[in-house]
């Protein structure tokens, strides 16, 4: 099946090798089935309302296989109540995305779970915000609706409800634990609290401005999203970012990865009862953010990557001062790793806690860091290196045990690998421009940008409209795949271990809720 598709497939503009094909409803499911059998992975699913153009809705699914990306369009017929054949049978991670497609577009999946996912009652159930005829200035009152969580029954079983507002400086989401004593029998998540209507908001922006919103989809992945958006726009306009601009983008992306890993390593130490770790790593993270301020004029790099390149060059100061900071950071990280590895209390909390089996990670299309810690060795920087990663020979770090200790270990490895990449980028920094002008693209083009962010692959699918407008922009965060993993990793663990397990994945609520 996939071989036939390959022959029929067209190319889509993207920073990765990307094929595109149109399938009927039957072929859509057949293709998903053969993708699953051939070891392919499900990346994302999105819909579009094209009734103003040809009277139809469209649904696209994106997969990753050994040849790169495959975008499949479901050739959808039907009028007011379009139906979508569910991919959940082959790719369970698709189900939440199908529920979200219904909430936003009214395209009903043939999947039994029809509970609202992003819609909590903030807009009427027969109103679909991503449809063309939806008035984007409309506001509705909230009508709270009960959410039927799955009940677990049995002697001594009770429920613990947590959130949406949590104790601490963290994002809102709801968790429903079914427990016996302190042992977790089942965890059910309810997300969507941070739904900000980002995809509808894109449609009111012009192509040249979309990166500012893309960078704010998820504040800790600002570089990854802004780069993915820029890559999509550059792909459809044929603009190539100059070599120095590309290198500065990668430097910023690795700094983003470093800052997040350092923050997580500290927080994981703290959740294991070792506050010393939090103090040390938060000091290192702050030092790195101050380096960001010195190198990129911002602590968090919201508006550094723009279509065509980056906004500013490195200061003229001696690059060795930055290299010295990398050396100092590496020395500190290696020392701290030694302390974590040899601390009996910390290791007792890390090892065997929150284990995600390799089979589960495969089955649920685990993405990024969480996948690598369970022995699924995917990293787009190594699998399909786009510029400048084609010169970097990125080493992919994996662990087999799939527990908190494994995710800590992968983070340590990736910190050291990122430092190596940063040094290599600085040593090989090309002279020349940092940005090229990007013209507006003509209407009706679809471009894909995919970047391996620190959490995993982020994707932007950008469809252009007339006069430099954005017709549709879909953003995908790896947290969509990885949130369900926690429902498995927590099983059999104790409720008090949940913060540690949750932190070891550190998934995004805002990137998921959009």
């Amino acid at each position: 099946m996939t071989a036939q598709i390959d022959e029929a497939a067209k190319r889509l503009p993207s920073n990765l090798p990307c094929r595109y094909t149109l399938t009927s409803a039957v072929e859509f499911r057949e293709l998903a089935k053969s993708m699953r059998a051939a070891g392919g992975r499900f990346l994302t699913l999105w819909g579009a309302d094209d009734r103003d153009r040809d009277g139809r809705f469209r649904v696209y699914a994106a997969f990753l296989d050994a040849a790169g990306l495959l975008v499949v369009e479901h050739d959808m017929h039907g009028g007011a109540e379009p139906l979508l054949p569910s991919l959940g049978e082959f790719f369970p991670s698709a189900v939440r995305m199908e529920r979200a497609v219904f909430d936003l577009l009214g395209i009903r999946s043939l999947e039994p779970d029809h509970r609202g996912w992003l819609r909590h009652g903030g807009w009427p159930e027969d109103v679909f915000p991503l449809r063309r005829d939806f008035d984007s200035s409309a506001q509705f009152g909230m009508v709270s609706e009960p959410y039927p969580f799955v009940q677990v029954e049995g002697e001594g079983v009770h429920e613990i409800a947590v959130g949406p507002v949590h104790a601490g400086t963290i994002e809102p989401g709801h968790f429903r634990f079914s427990v016996v004593g302190e042992k977790v029998l089942r965890l059910e998540q309810r997300l969507g609290y941070k739904h900000k209507g980002i995809e509808k908001r894109f449609e009111s922006l012009v192509q040249k401005e979309g990166h500012t919103l893309a960078a704010r989809i998820c504040g800790d992945s600002a570089v990854a999203y802004a780069w993915a958006y820029s890559a999509a726009l550059e792909a459809v306009t044929g603009v190539i970012c100059p070599p120095r601009g590309v290198q500065l983008r990668a430097l910023a992306l690795e700094h983003e990865r470093l800052a997040n890993h350092l923050g997580d390593l500290g927080a994981l130490g703290n959740d294991a009862g070792f506050a010393f770790g939090l103090t040390q790593f938060s000091r290192m993270k702050e030092d790195l953010l101050r380096t960001n301020q010195a190198c990129f004029n911002a602590r968090y790099l919201m508006d550094f990557v723009v279509p065509g390149g980056v906004v500013s060059d490195l200061p003229d100061a001696d690059p060795r001062s930055v290299l010295d900071r990398y050396n100092l950071l590496e020395h500190d990280v290696v020392g701290l790793r030694n302390i974590y590895d040899n601390h009996a209390g910390v290791q007792d909390r890390f090892r065997g806690t929150g284990t995600l089996a390799r089979e589960t990670a495969w089955e649920l299309d685990a993405a990024g860091l969480a996948a690598r810690a369970s022995g699924v060795p995917h990293d787009l920087r190594a699998d399909f290196p786009w510029q400048p990663y084609d010169k970097m020979n990125v080493n992919v770090s994996t662990q087999a045990s799939g527990d908190v200790a494994a995710r800590v270990s992968v983070r340590f490895d990736e910190v050291l690998e990122s430092l190596r990449i940063c040094r290599a980028l600085l040593a090989d920094l090309q002279a020349g421009d940092i940005r090229r002008a990007v013209p507006s693209a003509g209407a009706g083009l679809l471009g894909i940008g995919v970047i391996e962010g620190w959490r995993g692959p982020v994707l932007i699918a950008l469809e252009t409209g007339p006069n430099g407008s954005i017709r549709r922009c879909h953003a995908h965060d790896p947290s969509w795949q990885n949130w369900p993993l926690i429902e498995y990793a927590i099983l059999g663990n104790l409720v008090p271990d949940f913060p540690l397990i949750n932190k070891s994945f550190n998934l995004s609520y805002t990137g998921h809720d959009l």
């Binding site: 104790a167 739904h195 509808k200 919103l213």
Partner: protein, 169 residues
């Protein structure tokens, strides 16, 4: 253990003054000011009402050794019932509106509210849509707003002090 201790000694004390230009904001004086106004430590409850998580990262940075918020008598608490001040981030998402109102109601009087970041101040890049209500002040009373995307930890700390001080007068 030797490793841990030696690293602590080598790290030393990193806490900085809030604003070098403002000698009054030195940590000791600051602590005195807070105690004078409140009679005890200032307790903050943070609520994320729909942000991109950028402001949260800078709020978390307040606890790092450079800003050392707890060292000056300000601490983050887990329950709104223990809080003097609400620090609210994000354009208020429709799905978080009710939770924000309930959290506000749960804070005992007298209470202060600070809206953090461009989004908290006015809705930022997301604006007012079917999914967002705009700034925090559109939903609950706000004493002070901090602009920035995200605002720096120093800016957040200054705003907390100003708000406390202006209330104390």
């Amino acid at each position: 253990m030797i490793n841990t201790l030696s690293r602590m000694i080598r790290s030393g004390i990193l806490t900085e003054q809030v604003s070098p230009a403002n000698a009054d904001a030195a940590t000791g004086a600051l602590q005195q000011r807070i105690l004078r106004i409140l009679g005890r430590a200032l307790c903050i409850r943070h609520v994320d009402a729909g942000s991109c998580n950028g402001c949260e990262l800078e709020i978390q940075a307040l606890n790092n050794p450079y800003y050392n918020l707890e060292g000056v008598g300000i601490k983050f608490v887990a329950s709104p019932r223990h809080a003097d001040l609400l620090l609210v981030t994000g354009p208020v998402s429709v799905n978080m509106e009710e939770a924000l109102k309930r959290t506000f109601d749960a804070v005992p009087d007298p209470k202060l509210v600070i809206a953090v970041g461009d989004c908290g101040a006015c809705g930022g890049v997301y604006g007012k849509t079917y999914a967002t209500r705009g700034g925090v002040a559109d939903i609950i009373p706000v004493n002070h707003s901090i602009m920035g995307c995200p605002p720096t930890p120093a800016a957040i700390l200054e705003a907390i002090l100003q708000t406390v001080q202006s209330t104390g007068k």
